[in-house]
């Protein structure tokens, strides 16, 4: 079991890469859309579009979303490497969940802040960027960490579209050696260590850099 560890490391690297790139992209897109969602009026058609997007992301399994993108891209005449199909699929999925994170964090800041800032002569844009978002960021840390672990777990599903991440790399070894259970147990350890260190690191940021924050319990499986 020990001798296969080095052969799993390239897979582990892809897992980390794919999840990290998707997290960064999805955070930028998701939080931005979340802020838009928080500040558009209820009747605005943009809201319906965003709500439909969130409904689609929450209402279908991630494996289906990955399949849709994987099969749809060639139909539309796009030739994308599975690696990037994977990143786009994970970003698409995670951004949908992060719209809610952004919206909730911005909503928690309080309308008085917004009014006060406008009264002091800030524009709406300045208010959002300089007053609301800096306060909202602290409340995003816990859900974003959770999002990182969700992405690491979801990246294992990319094995079905031949992305050579940890699960796929281990599968390749086990289908040659028939040591399925051993390799799965080994992978489980890899994933556990990865996810636990991500959440420890985030808790450290939360408590020592930003001051105490509240942890968020989330019972999502994707």
């Amino acid at each position: 079991m020990i001798e296969v560890v080095p052969r799993l490391l390239p897979g582990l690297r892809i897992t980390i890469e794919v999840s990290a790139i998707s997290l960064v992209l999805a955070t930028l897109i998701g939080i931005w859309l979340g802020v838009i969602r928080a500040y558009t009026k209820a009747r605005n058609p943009l809201n319906w579009v965003l709500d439909a997007y969130v409904f689609f992301v929450r209402g279908t399994p991630i494996i289906v979303q990955i399949f849709v993108l994987f099969f749809l891209a060639p139909e539309l005449g796009l030739r994308i490497d599975p690696y990037w199909v994977g990143i786009i699929a994970l970003t698409f999925n995670s951004a949908g969940y992060q719209i809610e994170i952004g919206r909730a964090a911005v909503g928690s800041v309080g309308a008085a802040q917004f009014d006060a800032s406008l009264a002091l002569g800030f524009s709406r844009r300045q208010t959002i960027w300089l007053v609301i978002l800096p306060q909202a960021v602290r409340r995003m840390i816990a859900p974003l960490t959770n999002e990182m672990s969700q992405l690491i777990k979801a990246s294992s599903v990319l094995s079905v579209i031949t992305v050579f991440e940890l699960h796929k790399a281990a599968n390749a070894i086990s289908s040659a050696s028939f040591k399925y259970v051993e390799l799965l147990a080994l992978q489980a350890v890899f994933y556990l260590v990865l996810i636990l260190s991500v959440s420890r690191f985030a808790r450290w940021i939360e408590t020592s850099v930003l001051g105490a924050g509240e942890g968020a319990a989330d019972f999502q499986v994707r």
């Binding site: 409904f55 799965l184 489980a188």
Partner: protein, 218 residues
């Protein structure tokens, strides 16, 4: 018709996909019932058990939440026969999802029971009830009312996770749709129906969960 969609084909495959949806629902409902039973028992044990028992259950919960569901499903699929447990695909799928579901259920129950506050258990213990009586006669009945919305949510999660069973060849919705794509080389029509069916099932459950939440709030 120049929509570009083969509507006749979509009608033809609908019965097949509906049957597969029914399998998905059966697997998910069985999983939630089984995870409630085992999860309930284990969470009582987690709350009342000794230090070793608590540590073991804590480790189990961390495992189910920290390891990708896909890996756990494959693990159960390959590990069960090694321990002499031979099940067909359907029940292997139920077993795998139950394994994951129990971990999540323990967390849900623990969170609900803890949210009741120490006062309840202190008062009940002070009145001379045993810890087990306190749990089952005082805490659980109160937690029950609040457990329904998260459990519906859990069913939603299980339905979504059941799509992963396609990799161990359980004939649920995703697997059947995937096969249809490879047999007929028709992509968009199948994908539209696949996502639509999931959205109908999951969407109505999400709506039910919100309704239950509103009702239990008042």
């Amino acid at each position: 018709m120049t929509t570009g969609l083969d509507t006749q084909f979509m009608l033809d495959i609908l019965p097949k996909l509906l049957r597969a949806t029914w399998i998905t629902i059966q697997i998910s409902v069985l999983t939630v019932i089984l995870s409630c039973v085992f999860g309930g028992l284990l969470s009582a044990w987690r709350i009342l058990g000794g230090r070793v028992v608590r540590a073991v259950i804590y480790g189990f919960v961390e495992f189910t939440r920290g390891v990708p569901p896909l890996v756990q499903i494959a693990l159960i699929y390959f590990a069960l026969p090694r321990f002499g447990v031979v099940l067909n695909e359907f029940w292997t799928g139920v077993a795998a999802l139950t394994f994951i579901g129990v971990g999540y259920t323990i967390e849900i129950v623990r969170a609900q029971v803890e949210s009741l506050g120490r006062g309840q258990s202190d008062a009940s213990l002070g009145l001379g009830l045993s810890p087990w009586q306190t749990l089952f006669l005082v805490l659980v009945p109160q937690a029950m009312r609040r457990i329904l919305p998260p459990l519906t949510n859990e069913l939603v999660n299980v339905i979504k996770a059941s799509a992963l069973l396609s990799v161990i060849s359980v004939n649920e919705l995703t697997k059947v749709a995937n096969e249809l794509i490879f047999i007929h080389f028709v992509v968009i029509e199948v994908l539209i129906e696949l996502t639509f069916l999931y959205l109908v099932v999951v969407g109505s459950l999400m709506w039910l969960s919100r309704w239950l939440e509103r009702r239990s709030a008042t």
